[in-house]
Symmetry: C2
Subunit: 258 residues, 2 copies
């Protein structure tokens, strides 16, 4: 059996999220259909992250096992020819037999784009959060730093479930980088977060909380208290999916073959 | 009566072109509905360019006359609040009584984007022409220069009709700038054309002809012959609308009030 790693970009506004669902257009569903058609095998596709409806990806990673003899370049071309143009395979590589896109991921990076200008470009509709109202961006930047390190993220998650596993019920997650980046020429701020893994809705709950800090409803120093409270009703609302991008995944060793 | 000038950006892939058509989503139709709703007047909206289905705009200009006392900033906000997010009013200004978006335009600039990389971003779907095959870009650049100046564009137009007027049946047009611009970091070439006015499909026919030059089906020196032939079957095909953007309009004097 060969083990194939795919790197994917997609416009999430066209799909009901990553996970396969009967009768709904999903990334995993589209990908599974196309790979089965090309390989003529009953393959399963595993994604590093189960992105939700409307969430975008620049560097989602998926893997599947196959007996197909097709070269990876030919796979990429054939899959892209059949996939909807809102899903693109950016790279296809052959990896070692025990590589698994979800279980071996050691780091994930998300960006959340917030457009601050008065008029959003029609080309950015559903691709950024448009927030033209006053925000204390410095307070948001301070608050963002509080998320770094290992914390109990119960206050910043969906009521149940994890983005990357059904098995791990622990609400403890480690965040390696959490910061607000200003793009002045684009009138945009971007929240950049890197972690080993995330709970469901966790990035969007953090962004909703940072927006509450920006509006003065919360202080940066409230963040440590929110970890202690373990109460999701006390943190900010879940920010809409429009601005969220899964940017990249990191794997521990060179699994690549050849 | 006040005379209002609107500068518009829109994602053309969501509309059946500029011109109002019963039962179809068009830019002029959406704009007319919204302005009538806000002003409670039976206004007409005039656009500088009747862009076709799928053609985009960054700086389309429209004008209408109104008795409304609403400040232009309030008009912009109110119109944008009711318009679909794929149409945005970038600016609203009050202009002199004889200003007319179509009749007074003295220059129009279009860009046509051609993506040369192997994999098109899912976020650029319907927003560029994807042409990953070999092209002699230097020959295209030479050919583009031949379009500058005053020429009979019969070979580069729809069989009948003009983009900007029903009255002017002359196929003579003056092009002020016609060139290929390379954006190496984006694997993209952009055809930039500025003219006083254009025949229907003229930019897309020029692009189709430049692509034929790039493929070696035509030589740069064939362009002057195509002007003489006055035969649209001898020029290249009409390029798809996806890559075409109406970028800006120029008006002769400062009509602006206040």
């Amino acid at each position: 059996m060969r083990n194939i790693k795919l790197t994917l970009a997609y416009d999430g506004s066209a799909f009901h999220g990553w996970q396969i669902q009967p009768g709904l257009a999903t990334i995993q569903g589209s990908l599974t259909d196309v790979i089965r058609k090309i390989t003529q095998e009953n393959i399963s596709v595993h994604g590093a992250s189960r992105t939700d409806t409307g969430v975008h990806a620049l560097g989602q990673v998926a893997s599947f096992r196959t007996q197909s003899a097709l070269a990876v370049d030919e796979m990429q071309r054939a899959f892209n020819a059949l996939l909807p143009p809102t899903i693109r395979i950016v790279a296809a590589e052959e990896f070692g037999p025990d590589f698994h896109a979800r279980w071996q991921a050691v780091e994930k990076t998300y960006h959340y784009r917030i457009f601050r200008g008065a008029v959003l470009s029609p080309f950015d509709f559903r691709r950024v959060l448009h927030y033209p109202y006053p925000l204390d961006e410095q307070a948001m930047a301070h608050a963002a730093k509080h998320f770094e390190g290992e914390h109990d993220f119960t206050s910043f998650a969906a009521s149940s479930g994890s983005e990357d596993t059904d098995k791990d019920r622990s609400p403890i997650r480690e965040i390696l980088r959490s910061e607000i980046v200003r793009k002045p020429e684009q009138e945009e701020i971007v929240y950049v977060v890197t972690g080993r893994s995330f709970l469901r809705y966790m990035v969007r709950k953090i962004v909703g909380t940072l927006l509450d800090v920006g509006r003065g409803k919360l202080c940066p120093s409230d963040i440590p208290n929110l970890f202690d409270l373990r109460d999701r009703s006390r943190s900010g609302p879940t920010a809409p999916p429009d601005g969220l991008y899964l940017v990249s995944l990191k794997y521990p060793e060179p699994w690549k073959i050849g």
